[in-house]
Symmetry: C2
Subunit: 328 residues, 2 copies
DNA sequence: GTGCGAGATGTGAGCGGTAACAATCGCCTC
DNA sequence: GAGGCGATTGTTACCGCTCACATCTCGCAC
């Protein structure tokens, strides 16, 4: 910086002013400085700047498994939205316990992030969070609507309600539900929406069967269902499990949708190409990420904001995997 | 830090020594300092440390679309491996042109990263990279084996060769290839492996058909193939396209594998649950990411390392989507 | 008892910026 | 023509830490 100042024939402070877009600099001086900067290929030192301003312009995102489509998409949304002004660091949790969560937060704090976004729906993770004393704002995303902190989420209840209602309207006696782990708020809320739709329709609620979000678990559950002739409609808490279910049902010769109707949740890009194409509930992960970022930035800037947000309504995407039951 | 020093009754320098694990500190003194740190909840300021040491312990990862399984998995591998010692920042490119690449690199450099990993296979992106004057080490991953810079990749040629050879050994006259965009090195190398296998077997090479990695593009290509009775075996450059192909073939009443055999590439977690389960070439994305990180760290530490690395051999995973042709 | 070296600790400078304040220069007003 | 004000620029102090070096304290060999 001193070199730049010397070359431009001004003081280092004037260089600093040009760099920061300070108004009171003569246009000619500004030009000189910019020319010197270009000539020297000068790049301001972020650490020095941070040291004195106290601002790092860095954000942290904590996630469990960014390999999954949902988290990956939210991360993508966050990151793209952050391009203007913030750099985004990520860390994945090896487990959901309080300790690893604390560790992740500490790591970020140590690196001086100004805020943290957590992509997680697991209750233990979220609870661990509330116990973590943080000096920076913290928001959760994709976590269900009842996380004990600032959050952005879709209306799982409404989504599950729509899916279930749709199957019921097709004249199915009832709808079986394949949920995610009970520890996730998402899965719980979807179960709630499913349950409410059944209740409103006066339909009995079969026992909930739980998978772990993977196609494998859906496949295993599909084997059970295939042997139960009373199962004519299944609502899966995500598309991967629906995929596994589809295959298991197929292996047992139970036709989808003629023998069994299946509805998923998420609308991953592949769902439209399942056999048959999957009717599912779309959630806009990217928008979720963007909203989470906006909320966090609001918090960082000290703008108070309403607690939980439900930015985008889930939408039922009708494809071929659900239809009227063969006979009543 | 001064507060800690005062409380522990030592100088700031001794606190610094304790923090950095300097050997020449009396155990008792060390204890006192640590106690003071705990009591005050003191956390060292990363910016100040960086300012004087010149080290940020930060890495940047540039990717195109982290929503895809491959990039997401590599990112995951990188990030997990970096936990010991580095923080990982990410940025996604809006496009592959030189300018956005330059911008991404600049952003990272501005934030002071010590090294950059690029997850991309697009030639334009890779070329842009070589034109970027960087002061920090740079490695590419998942980019094919012939990127013009340090890189870590799987042996696409071998993978594609195995897949094609497998189909040929099943007694198919030839194998059709559904590639990715021609601009990607991965797709090119896979085409090369496919081609080599055909040549060695003395089989004719049909014209390459290109998709864009998406299930949708595979679906469209599947419609074309369904009308071509001579197509009995198809090798897809990734699993998503294979999925789309499967559905299109199904819609036209062409049975897989009896009428048409299909082999994919990647082995995404869902492949095993396609209908029929997909025979595919597995690549270990996580290991790829870990190796890339290791290579980058080697470079950062000034350890010279061999240029391109092919860490893990791709492996053919045999499932049900490929079999002998119905008749010769 | 003295000198000396190694271990333990303290002191001062400076990393590269920004903030606060001071200084300089016109130009306008009365 | 003096005073004053705003625009522009320079000066100095520090942000919180580590490095290099100075200092101090022992234990030990002679």
């Amino acid at each position: 910086m001193a070199d730049v100042a010397r070359l431009a024939g001004v003081s280092h402070q004037t260089v600093s002013r040009v760099l920061n877009g300070h108004p009171n600099v003569r246009p000619q001086t500004r030009e000189d400085v910019l020319a010197a900067i270009r000539e020297l290929g000068y790049r301001p030192n972020a650490a020095a700047r941070t040291l004195v301003t106290g601002r790092t312009h860095a954000l942290g995102v904590i996630s469990f498994d960014t390999t999954l489509y949902g988290p990956a998409s939210m991360l993508y949304g966050i990151e793209r939205a952050a391009h203007a002004g913030y750099s985004v660091a990520i860390t994945s949790l090896p487990a959901f316990d309080r300790r690893s969560m604390q560790e992740a937060v500490d790591r970020f704090l140590g690196h001086g992030v100004e805020g943290i976004i957590v992509i997680a729906s697991e209750m233990p993770a979220l609870e661990a969070l509330s116990g973590v004393a943080t000096d920076v704002p913290l928001v959760a995303v994709g976590c269900g609507t009842r996380a004990p902190l600032d959050s952005v989420a879709i209306d799982n209840i409404s989504g599950a309600f729509q899916a279930t209602r749709y199957l019921l309207d097709l004249a199915h006696h009832t709808v079986h539900y394949v949920g995610g782990p009970d520890s996730t708020l998402d899965a719980r809320e979807r179960a709630e929406g499913w349950n409410r739709a059944l209740r409103e329709a006066g339909a009995g609620a079969p026992e909930i069967v739980r998978g772990d979000w993977s196609a494998r678990s859906g496949y295993e559950i599909g084997h059970q269902f295939a042997k139960m002739p009373e199962v004519t409609a299944v609502f899966c808490a995500n598309d991967q499990m629906a995929l596994g279910l589809l295959r298991a049902l197929g292996e047992h010769g139970r036709q989808v949708p003629h023998d069994v109707s299946v509805v998923g949740f998420d609308d991953i890009p592949e769902s439209a190409y399942f056999l048959p194409p999957l009717t599912t509930v779309r959630q806009d992960f990217g928008e979720l990420g963007r909203q989470a970022l906006r909320l966090l930035v609001d918090r960082i800037c000290g703008r108070p904001a309403p607690g939980a947000r439900l930015p985008v309504a889930p939408e039922l995407i009708v494809r071929a995997s659900a239809t009227r039951p063969r006979r009543r």
